[in-house]
Amino acid sequence: MTDLASPAVMVSSRSAENRRDIGIKRRYAAERRFRAYGISAIAIGLFFLAVLLWSVVSKGYTAFQQTTITLPIEFSEKVIDPKNERATDPKRLQTVNYPVLVRDALVKQLGIDPKKRPLVKQASDMVSDSVRTQLRDIVVADPSVIGKTIPVTLLADANIDSAFKGQIDLKVAESKRKVKDQQVAWMNELAEAGVLKKSFNTGIFSFGASSRPEAAGVGVALVGSAYMMLIVLVLSLPIGVAASIYLEEFAPKNRLTDLIEVNINNLAAVPSIVYGLLGLAVFVNFAGMPRSAALVGGFVLTLMTLPTIIIATRAALKAVPPSIRSAALGLGASKMQTIFHHVLPLAMPGILTGTIIGLAHALGETAPLLLIGMVAFVVDYPGSPLEPSTALPVQIYMWANEAERAFVERTSGAIIILLIFLVFMNLGAILLRRRFERRW
């Protein structure tokens, strides 16, 4: 036993004496340090993301609630059409002083003496000016309501809305705030009666631009953005993919194609406002296209998105294993067949990801749109891409310039809407990737 054991002992002791210092500890320490750097980098990133989301959501979630007042409105013939002209004069119903109806209803509801004009004025200020168009639309749509009393849900004024959401500091001296003590008292009275309440704000999705926050929404901007995304997708995907296939697969490799490649890479880094200037000079001034139109915006964003799509598509085409090309060529497939039957389907996930990232980028782009006049006060939905419209990020930009408290929450609310769209687009990219991804 001892004979067998002793050589082993000798070997181990010899190796212990001669063990070289190969820096094992140092190497592991370096690895641990590197991991710590990585984790801290990710932690910092997540922290700022959380701060961003928290600040946007905490400011913006209230924008999705709107205070409304439901009042029984008497569509009194005395106010609307005292001389009974509506059959002969079609404009009669358009020009009625509809807010009077609301004022009367409020006065009745709150039991105010109609002769105390300052009090009446304060009461009618609690309701949005948008009641004028709201009631007009009701009457014009159905004149038979005249003479009847029906309950109508009206938007509260933005200041009352803010006060009801607790955003106005009531400790500030009454003269320095926009909501008076009497109004707050009425507000609480109406709330207790169940007349004034908060509900989901559908208006923020459907209204157009308005100087009254309670009647402002991103509806027009959403339509404008949708038109532009459609134009960008329809133009940039085929042009970008065709250009990349040609450059990657067919074009000879020479100085000219090198130059083109360098330029495409540079174009991807050109500041977007430069594209706006280009669009203004070429599409609006030279080609005479309408200003503020989603069509021009779409063209400009297409130019901006193309380099991104071309770079992503070329990378995806390059990533297809050469063995697949050889296999198809070896069978006698032509170059075109090889590309369209084998290479392109395999590159599809990469192409789609690049396209959707490009689209998401275009959706959030503001600067070029400012230059082609899409920073506009557009109240009506654009019927076609040729009509003036605005875009979601531009709407955010415009609201961010407004002073009212209610616009602050709407700005954050619109950012939340934009972020939700971006999340859905990225989700779409992931799903398409999964759908097209194949192993080889």
Binding site: S323, G330, A333
Partner: protein
């Protein structure tokens, strides 16, 4: 053996990659219904020569071929010859199994489809079945023809690639080290298959295995540094080669 007609004739074939010359005036004839093995150390030009036979070198930038290669009297580098038609007549099997990431059925039927060799479902079914049978794969995959070809084992994938090449009914099949990525059992199956295919096809195979060359081929050509050193009947080549370099290589003295 010498009475077998020539299928392909290479005359003074030289290949340049840019400035670099990879093949020096190679004169090598490929006999019909014969397995010709190309051997030699790495970088000797045997794969380059193989790829000139169906013009796969065309796909490489800066590659230039001089000399003359004929297939049944037609000069394959003549401008009147269409490369697509040539590759339909001279098929190729690659070093690494490279099935398309599609079903087994689609892999085999792709060639006939693009060349219009089959039109109806029944015709496609038939060509898929006969090709897979010729490649000795039918019994293993007949119940899962619509599963992905990439799900097969390495040896099966390579036989699928052979079936895919066979489906186009080529006259010549080029094989570039078809067994180098396979285990010995899969290799044996492919070698057996090459043996059977010889009845219907002319085969040129590049291999690094001397034993494989000896087992599957009737003719062997030895390349060294871009030159054709010796071309002979396989039996003679491995027992009594004419050239000292061949002898040294086969004995494992260099390479």
């Amino acid at each position: 053996m010498n009475t077998v007609p020539y299928k392909m004739i290479g005359k003074d074939v030289s290949v340049y990659y840019g400035e670099k010359r990879a093949l020096f005036d190679v004169n090598l004839d490929i006999r019909e219904n014969t397995v010709t093995a190309l051997i030699g150390p790495s970088g000797c030009g045997k794969s380059t020569f193989l790829r000139t036979l169906n013009r796969m070198n065309d796909t490489i930038e800066n590659c230039r071929v001089t000399g003359k290669i004929t297939l049944d009297e037609d000069d394959i580098y003549d401008p009147s010859i269409d490369v697509v038609e040539l590759r339909a007549r001279v098929g190729m099997v690659f070093q690494k199994p490279n099935p398309f990431p599609k079903s087994i059925y689609e892999n085999v039927s792709y060639g006939p489809r693009i060349h219009g060799l089959a039109r109806t479902k029944a015709e496609f079914d038939e060509v898929v079945e006969t090709s897979l049978q010729k490649a000795g794969l039918w019994n293993e995959v007949k119940d899962r023809l619509h599963e992905p070809g990439t799900g097969l084992s390495g040896g099966q994938q390579q036989r699928l690639c052979i079936a895919r090449a066979v489906a186009v009914s080529p006259e010549v099949i080029l094989m570039d080290e078809p067994c180098s990525a396979l285990d010995p059992i899969a290799t044996a199956k492919v070698e057996e298959l090459i043996h059977e295919l010889r009845a219907n096809f002319t085969i040129v195979i590049v291999t690094h295995s001397m034993q494989q060359a000896a087992r599957v081929s009737q003719r062997t050509a030895m390349f060294h540094l871009g030159n054709l050193v010796e071309e002979n009947d396989t039996d003679k080549m491995f027992t009594n080669p004419d050239d000292q370099r061949t002898q040294d290589y086969i004995m494992g003295r260099f390479g």
